[in-house]
């Protein structure tokens, strides 16, 4: 048999590492619960068009009376327009998850870029970037997000952008710290000595090494993005035609569900947010603990 190429060896090692992480992740009960809950919710959200009838979301086709209490027909009652709350929560998952994930991609993208650049180039670039990061880190991000989504054209896109642009600093700091740690290792020195350029070092060595932690951080960021989205939608900055869970709660408050005591209208969207956020957070924390030896029990 011929000797495997260095790339093949590297990939073999990476596969082994992933297997090890997976084994350790499986031993974390919280993380396992989070992962199971997420898989279920994502599957339900993706297959909603196949499993349910979207026409029930249209107020003109509503079959129930306004604010009907839960019954055999409407398991979670109806909203102020007579639509099934269960159906809305189900379809709301699609919007909430989509916005959460997209906003996270924006956030993690900016954070990784800034973090790697700040650590890799050092000097002035680093000083300016970190100053910038620290500034955005302490800035009350909800206020900034409110401002952004007000001046942009209202809708999902504005919310994605507003959440993404305001939540990247913690990722940037994490990535910077990790990049600094990676770049101080001897093999990077060796790569430099062999004449590697910035692009080569960053793409071939730094990014693979920080990818794992960024992934764990991404999971945590999705949790925050979903809460952020619901908050902005609740404040009336969302798109009323794309009813996310926050949008539902906004409508519930606006229609007097609180004074009416319509708990079936108020509880499900909030519980859904809490469940998804908790699932993301448990999975993210478990992943972080497995990947970041500093957090592990000694």
């Amino acid at each position: 048999m011929s000797t495997p190429s260095p790339t093949a060896i590297a990939w073999q090692r990476r596969r082994a590492a992933v297997g090890r992480v997976w084994q350790e992740f499986l031993s974390d009960r919280g993380g396992l619960f989070g992962l199971a809950a997420l898989s279920l919710i994502v599957a339900l959200a993706v297959f909603a068009p196949l499993l349910s009838d979207a026409s029930g979301l249209d107020p003109t086709h509503a079959t129930g009376r306004p604010l009907e209490a839960p019954s055999g027909h409407f398991l979670l009652g109806t909203d102020n327009l007579g639509r099934s709350v269960l159906l809305q929560v189900w379809w709301g998952a699609r919007i909430s998850l989509l916005v959460g994930v997209l906003a996270t991609l924006v956030s993690v993208g900016i954070g990784t870029l800034v973090g790697v650049a700040a650590a890799h180039f050092g000097g002035w670039t680093s000083a300016v970037l970190m100053r910038f990061t620290d500034f955005f880190l302490v800035l009350p991000s909800l206020v900034l997000a409110i401002a952004l989504s007000t001046v942009l054209n209202r809708g999902i896109f504005a919310i994605v952008l507003a959440v993404g642009v305001t939540s990247w600093p913690s990722t940037a700091r994490l990535v910077r710290a990790q990049t600094l740690a990676v770049e101080s290792r001897p093999y990077i020195e060796r790569a430099w000595a062999l004449g590697a350029g910035h692009v080569h070092v960053i793409i071939r060595h730094v990014l693979p090494a920080v990818a794992a932690l960024v992934f764990a951080n991404t999971t945590l960021t999705v949790a925050n993005s979903i809460i952020a989205e619901s908050t902005l939608s609740f404040l009336g900055l969302g798109d009323p035609n794309a009813a996310s869970w926050g949008e539902m709660l906004n409508a519930a408050l606006g229609s007097g569900a609180v004074t009416y005591g319509a708990w079936w209208y108020l509880l499900p969207p909030g519980l859904a947010i809490a469940l998804v956020v908790l699932a993301f957070m448990l999975a993210g924390r478990a992943l972080e603990t497995v990947l970041n030896p500093r957090l592990r029990e000694r």
Binding site: V138, L144, V163, S170, V258, G261
Partner: protein, 343 residues
């Protein structure tokens, strides 16, 4: 919105281990911090201008969104608001106004923004102050106990509840509390106009109104403080000086109180201040749910317009306040941590 309480943030926050004790270094350190804060404030001001004058393209269109207005009216409005000048001139005007403490006039209320903010700041400070103080007390106490008995039933339950509360959106917790308590507590406002005059009845009515919004805010904030304190104390639990303290014959609670907690407190304090933005966002949503007449409710009201000058003023004031609080925290850190304190 909610900064992740990832402990991964902590290493960067660890106090510098460089030996202190040189007076000159401290002065320079102070100057750097102050300079940094001034730069940050300037950035807030520029950001405020950028967000509300540059980014909307034509603010007048945003204001009149949906309303049928003719081109003449638009032009007149632009002129009235000084929006027909070149952008650089507008920026100079904006700076000059700010320097005079003038934040412009609210479109909606037709009063100066500074007056509005001045009226509303008291209730917010009351709500946020009381809630933060309670949340810190409860959170740090529970977090300490949870970490000390790691893995115990107490730890699992209190950490679980904290994670659950932290996962729930603030405004929803408020809505649920409102629905659950029914008519036990007033659902809106600061004080009932029918309350008899006199200090005691007025105060009691205020507290009655304060209960629910405060409880909601505490529920979200304490959870975060608990988690931060717990992870920070867990980091300290492996420290060698705790073995020394035990070897001296100290009781368990003294080891914890005298040695572990003071050390774990330092990163916790920093993280608490770093996450003040969370308190602000909590205030916005809680005040909206309970119609608590503070800056948060004002923000919500400004959104409805949108009332751009009011939003701009609120943005500058809230962001500025958080920055100033952060500066205070950093200066405080100098006093409480001997490793960065000058002797």
């Amino acid at each position: 919105m909610i900064g992740p309480v990832s402990t991964a943030l902590a290493p960067d926050l660890a106090p510098p281990t460089t030996p202190g004790g040189r007076g000159g270094g401290t002065v320079r350190h102070l100057a750097t911090k102050l300079g940094g804060a001034v730069v940050s404030l300037l950035m807030v001001i520029v950001l405020g201008f950028f967000l509300f004058r540059v980014l909307p393209g034509d603010p007048v269109k945003t204001i009149t969104r949906g309303a049928p207005v003719g081109p003449q009216q638009l032009a007149a409005l632009r002129h009235e608001l000084g929006l027909d000048k070149p952008i650089a001139a507008q920026f100079v005007d904006y700076l000059a106004q700010l320097a005079r403490g003038d934040l412009g006039e609210s479109y909606q209320f037709r009063v100066p923004v500074s007056t509005l903010i001045g009226e509303r700041i008291g209730p917010t400070v009351l709500l946020v102050g009381v809630a933060t103080a309670l949340a810190i007390l409860v959170g740090l106490w529970l977090g300490t106990r949870a970490a000390w008995r790691r893995g115990s039933r107490f730890d699992r339950i209190s950490t679980g509840v904290a994670l659950l509360l932290w996962s729930a959106p603030t405004f929803w917790l408020g809505l649920v509390l409102l629905t659950v308590t029914g008519n036990l507590f007033p659902s809106q406002g600061l004080i009932n106009p029918n309350t008899p005059a006199g200090f005691l009845p007025q105060t009691l009515d205020l507290l009655h109104h304060l209960t629910l919004p405060c409880l909601t805010l505490v529920a979200v904030l304490y959870a975060q403080y608990l988690l931060v304190m717990r992870s920070s104390l867990l980091e300290e639990m492996n420290a060698d000086y705790l073995v020394t303290a035990k070897a001296k014959g100290l009781r368990d609670d003294l080891v914890r109180r005298r040695h572990a907690v003071p050390n774990a407190m330092l990163p916790t304090v920093t993280l608490i201040f770093l996450n003040l933005g969370l308190v602000v966002s909590g205030a916005v949503t809680v005040e909206t749910v309970f119609s608590w007449p503070g800056l948060g409710l004002l923000t919500y009201q400004a959104l409805q317009g949108p009332d751009l000058p009011l939003l701009q003023g609120l943005f500058v004031v809230l962001a500025g306040a958080v920055l100033v609080m952060n500066l205070i925290a950093e200066l405080l850190y100098q006093v409480i941590d001997p490793r960065v304190r000058a002797t």
